[in-house]
Symmetry: C2
Subunit: 379 residues, 2 copies
């Protein structure tokens, strides 16, 4: 129950360990086609260029920037946590010029500031922001921000690492141009893959670049040849066969549950957890209307030893919760309710364990957390 | 029995599907330390900067070039197959200047040509070549080539994707500066990770670069913070937990067998396979003294339909062999004997199936392949 990797369903672990076959085997190619359709469903898109990058979310981020940003290109980067800062690094390393729009950690991206930046920089080629900030648990408004990108005629690049499968996300309806995610958060698959999707507008920009993509491994012009439509696939690199089996199974489970049902489930278990945490007297970092259901950052109460609590939870309860990052290190915990981990058993275990460990430390907290959570479940 | 991914031992598949824990969990950190030691053994090195890149071999290649080559740097690239060409792409995309040393496909890299190129280009910063060319099955002389790199005061970058665990390789004794491999060949682990190792000389060059590494994901200055020594690890990206379990197990099995014993096993099964193939009348692409035991490229006999034979082997015998690449497409097959696939059962199955399928096509081949292989085993 940290910020990811999340728990993996036994079905997904079983799929992971199926015998490895060749990356050009006809049976594997068939699975790739299914995987692409399942990813299109998860992203709610009909984008042809939708595939899992063969590396973790950071590489998915890099795939978006390295393919869409050419030297000298201006990119507006919104930063309201750790991952906006990583986007800035990516723009710079591609030779682009980042224009930063800063918001406080724990706040969503402010569309007014973004519009000011777009007005002031009419030659901007892309607007980049994080949908769900894993470092704080703040949700930003993808639809409004992508509308701004379209209004000012630039591409949108969206980080959906923690949102995909857990929060409402509609790539086509909201006009997203490039998006990347991770498999180890709300999809509850093993870490190591990064689903990406590019609109036709973004794909056209990649095809018509004047300079080569600086990464051979992440060059979508080449990757498309392997993941593209049709039976004939050109070898690019050896795909991570077994993790792709696992992703196929995880996405199949998402489709069986239904995407909107998965969003609703994440929301329900968040409400129960929040009721319990608040009953203990804990307060959230993020204002209620901007909170992610899958990543709950709460302030560590006074007199409680951060590291000791997390160590005891791990040792005595086999339970991981996340530490704070950056300016919130030592000040907040980040409790994940992602994918398969977003269920009643986890919520109640976490609340009772946290209450017991903090009370043993002599913390001035209230009891009754589990009862408060159960009231949400029975309402 | 293609050019990889190779068969995976059940112990490795079982390790792969162990429950996923956090990438900063103390138990996982302990496993990372063990994994590093096991990799140092496999590479025969004491290099501190030895770790698995969280992506396939192509990304390991890119990690070596992106970290060691700065814009304007001259790199001598030896090309005697597909993967030398990919090295050239990497040098160019890093802003470097590739000086090509060309040898025919199927031949090893010629040290005399390399020395001429080094003499003609005294400002060369690195010499790059492939130890074991997967596209042809040719082995080059790492020791001699690295001695040349040292003589002319430049770094050596070695592709060991197909050699690690299958052919003699001694990183420290031979003076290799940067080396990358894959997990899906002679280590018989799942594809998706790329073990790399950098000498202190190479690591110092990375630390003292004047420009930032163009890839954030592959920047060893940052990756070192997570894989470095000591209990305190800085988060860089979410490691691919489960594939790392599998690699740990595969390397443990290599250590149990013994590295030299693994090399000898690859050699023995190659000799049996070669005896069988030659008994049928098939001929090798590569001269005997330069042949890789783990990758056997043989000419397709006249009158035999390449694709049909490979399809029948797959459908009727559950057996994959590889097609030719580049100028050898349709002309050779590539039969792999890598890692767990390098065993008697596979050699005999392959020979009998290939003989049966080709005879059914009316090919003019001799019988007696299995008997010839068995004579090697009983000698």
């Amino acid at each position: 129950m940290g910020p990811g990797p999340s728990d993996i369903h036994p079905r997904v672990l079983a799929a992971l360990s199926r015998p490895t076959i060749g990356h050009l085997d006809p049976a594997f190619i068939t699975m790739m086609d299914e995987l692409k359709q399942l990813l299109q469903y998860a992203f709610q898109t009909s984008n042809a260029l939708t595939l899992p990058v063969s590396a973790p979310g950071s590489a998915g981020m890099e795939a978006c920037f390295a393919n869409l940003v050419e030297p000298g290109d201006k990119v507006i980067v919104c930063q309201n946590g750790v991952f906006g800062g990583r986007m800035k690094e990516n723009v710079e390393r591609c030779g682009g010029i980042p224009i930063m729009v800063m918001d406080d950690w724990g706040k969503p991206v402010d569309p007014h500031k973004v519009e000011e930046a777009l007005k002031a920089n009419p030659d901007t080629v892309a607007l980049a922001f994080v949908h769900a900030e894993t470092s704080t648990g703040a949700l930003s408004d993808v639809k409004t921000l992508c509308e701004l990108a379209q209004k000012y005629d630039c591409l949108s690049i969206v980080d959906a690492v923690t949102s995909l499968g857990g929060s409402e996300l509609r790539v086509d309806d909201w006009g997203v141009d490039a998006i990347y995610s991770g498999t180890q958060k709300c999809l509850s698959c093993v870490p190591g893959l990064s689903p990406v999707s590019f609109s036709e507008r973004a794909a056209e920009r990649i095809r018509s670049r004047t300079s080569k993509v600086q990464s051979w491994f992440l060059d979508m012009n080449l990757v498309m040849g392997y993941w593209g439509a049709g039976a004939k696939r050109a070898y690019h690199h050896t795909a991570p066969i077994n993790p792709l089996y696992a992703l196929h199974e995880a996405l199949l489970m998402l489709q069986e549950e239904g995407l909107e049902q998965a969003w609703a489930r994440h929301s329900q278990h968040y409400r129960a957890l929040a009721a319990g945490l608040e009953a203990m007297g804990l307060t959230f970092l993020v204002e209620e209307r901007y909170r992610l259901p899958q990543l709950n950052a709460v302030y560590i109460p006074a007199g409680v030893n951060d590291a000791e609590v997390r160590n005891l939870l791990l040792q005595d309860y086999n339970l991981e919760i996340g530490a704070g990052l950056g300016e919130f290190a030592g000040k907040v915990w980040r409790i994940g309710l992602m994918g398969y981990a977003s269920r009643k058993e986890n919520v109640l275990t976490c609340l009772s364990a946290l209450e017991a460990v903090m009370l043993a430390q002599g913390a001035a907290i209230n009891s009754g957390a589990v009862a408060a959570a159960n009231r949400v479940y029975s309402s």
